[in-house]
Amino acid sequence: MAYPTDRKYTKEHEWIQANGNSATIGITDHAQESLGDIVFVELPKVGAELAAGKTFGTVESVKAVSDLYAPASGTVTETNADLATAPEKVNKDAHGSWMLKITLKNAGELDGLLSAADYEKFVAEESGH
């Protein structure tokens, strides 16, 4: 899989796409594939503060609960209401299904994240291929 180059990635299998001082966050195709059928997404409320590296919500498959980790620090400005009723959209198109939007506290934090190429390599190593 070729991961979109218009965004950065984390080792917790999330992506973050910056647009000036705001950013959009979701989970990667590898994440949705590992999870299986997604049945529930728990996101923070608008106004909540995210701290880079800390958990901010959960995504649940039939069998398991997985934490979501903030790729960067910031304040939640919008969450994707679709996912409350149709969480399976994330399985169908993980890179096109955004979960939340934030105002970045420090855009520089993204510099330390993985590029598409690095993430692809990371996934390959993790899977032992």
Partner: protein, 360 residues
């Protein structure tokens, strides 16, 4: 087949098969409810009791009444400890005049076999562990009979639910075919020779035969969601060595009119005392999924019990759970909460089983 595998009691087992071949827990679950699904359940254990006192031996260790079984008939039962708690649940099949087959859980194979052997020494009966001698395949769903009929000369329409027969299956002679399962659907479990080549061939032939009905291979994930919808107990969850028959609500499989069986005395005594907990079905009324081990709270947030099994229910499209609560919280409609990551989330007691297959 590219399944996601997991270690389960010493076995390498598929949780679910790939989305790429039309699988995944939800699709597998729905296939069983609407068409047919195929499970490799060879991890289950098999204990054979045969001999002049085989019935007496079974009657001693099993809580249900095996004397009611005709040759070819099966029943759900349990092996109990003297305290009236569970060694395991079991399906008892009467294969012959003096021959019984107990099919037991994978995780309890060794324990069960030792238990059965040690508690039947006084009977003139041979006890054999046949667990490694069979590959066991379950074919489950409304189209299971049509699928399997293509592959056998046995007249499956003559086999009632919880009865067995023998026939040629996929060219293999004298195969045990049981109309049993763990999915709350119609279906069969077949016991075939264990060598890999035969097992693989039969597995593929069954999948092929079921193709027109949407057959898919099914893993442990769907196995769990299917049995949960049907309120079928899982050892270590609804039943265990610290839970008794009355608490688990399995009294209809426990024949106290039998004068003697292991655990009977303790159950008699327990009957005279009030239950402190009982198994109920819960349905989430607020957003959230109750899962195994989560606490159950009353309306003001006090802990009253715990979830034994909880999951989304793919067919019912609700989030359901089984839980132990004090009897005063058991009436249908009682509002409770389930603690999910520190928050009490609304749920209510509902009738069980959550799902019952439609009558033909």
């Amino acid at each position: 087949m590219g399944a996601k595998m997991v270690e389960f009691n010493g076995w390498d087992m598929p949780v679910e098969y790939p989305a790429a071949i039309g699988c995944g827990i939800i699709n597998e679950h729905m296939a069983v409810r609407t068409g047919v699904g195929i499970f490799d359940v060879s991890h289950m254990g098999d204990i054979r009791l045969a001999g002049p006192q085989a019935l007496a031996a079974v009657q001693h260790i099993s809580m249900n009444d095996a004397s009611r079984l005709a040759v070819g008939q099966a029943q759900y039962s349990a092996l109990l400890y003297p305290q009236g708690t569970f060694v395991d649940d079991v399906i008892v099949h009467r294969l012959g005049e003096d021959e019984y087959l107990l099919v037991i859980n994978a995780g309890t194979r060794e324990k069960d076999f030792n238990w059965v052997r040690d508690n039947t020494r006084q009977f003139d009966c041979a006890v054999e562990n046949l667990s490694d001698d069979f590959t066991q395949i379950a074919i489950q769903g409304p189209k299971a009979v049509d699928t399997l009929q293509k592959l056998t000369d046995a007249d499956l329409s003559a086999v009632k639910f919880y009865w067995v027969t023998r026939g040629t299956v996929c060219g293999l002679k004298n195969i045990l075919i049981a109309r049993t399962g763990y999915t709350a659907e119609d279906g069969f479990e077949i016991y075939i020779p264990v060598d890999e080549a035969t097992s693989a061939r039969v597995w593929n032939e069954i999948l092929d035969a079921g193709k027109e009905f949407g057959a898919v291979p099914c893993g442990l994930g769907a196995r769990n969601t299917l049995r949960l919808e049907g309120k079928l107990p899982l050892y270590g969850h609804e039943i265990s060595d610290t839970i008794n028959v009355w608490e688990a609500g399995l009294e209809r499989f426990c024949k106290m009119e039998k004068p003697e069986f292991v655990g009977r005395a303790a159950l008699e005594k327990a009957k005279a005392t009030k239950l402190t907990r009982t198994l109920v079905g819960l349905e989430m009324t607020e957003r959230g999924i109750a899962r195994d081990g989560y606490k159950v709270l009353d309306a003001v947030g006090r802990e009253i019990g715990y979830v034994t099994s909880g999951s989304p229910a793919p067919f019912l499209k609700k989030n359901i759970a089984l839980a132990y609560v004090p009897p005063e919280f058991s009436p249908v409609g009682t509002a409770v909460k389930v603690e999910i990551r520190g928050q009490g989330v609304g749920a209510q007691v509902v009738p069980t089983p959550f799902y019952k297959r439609p009558k033909k």
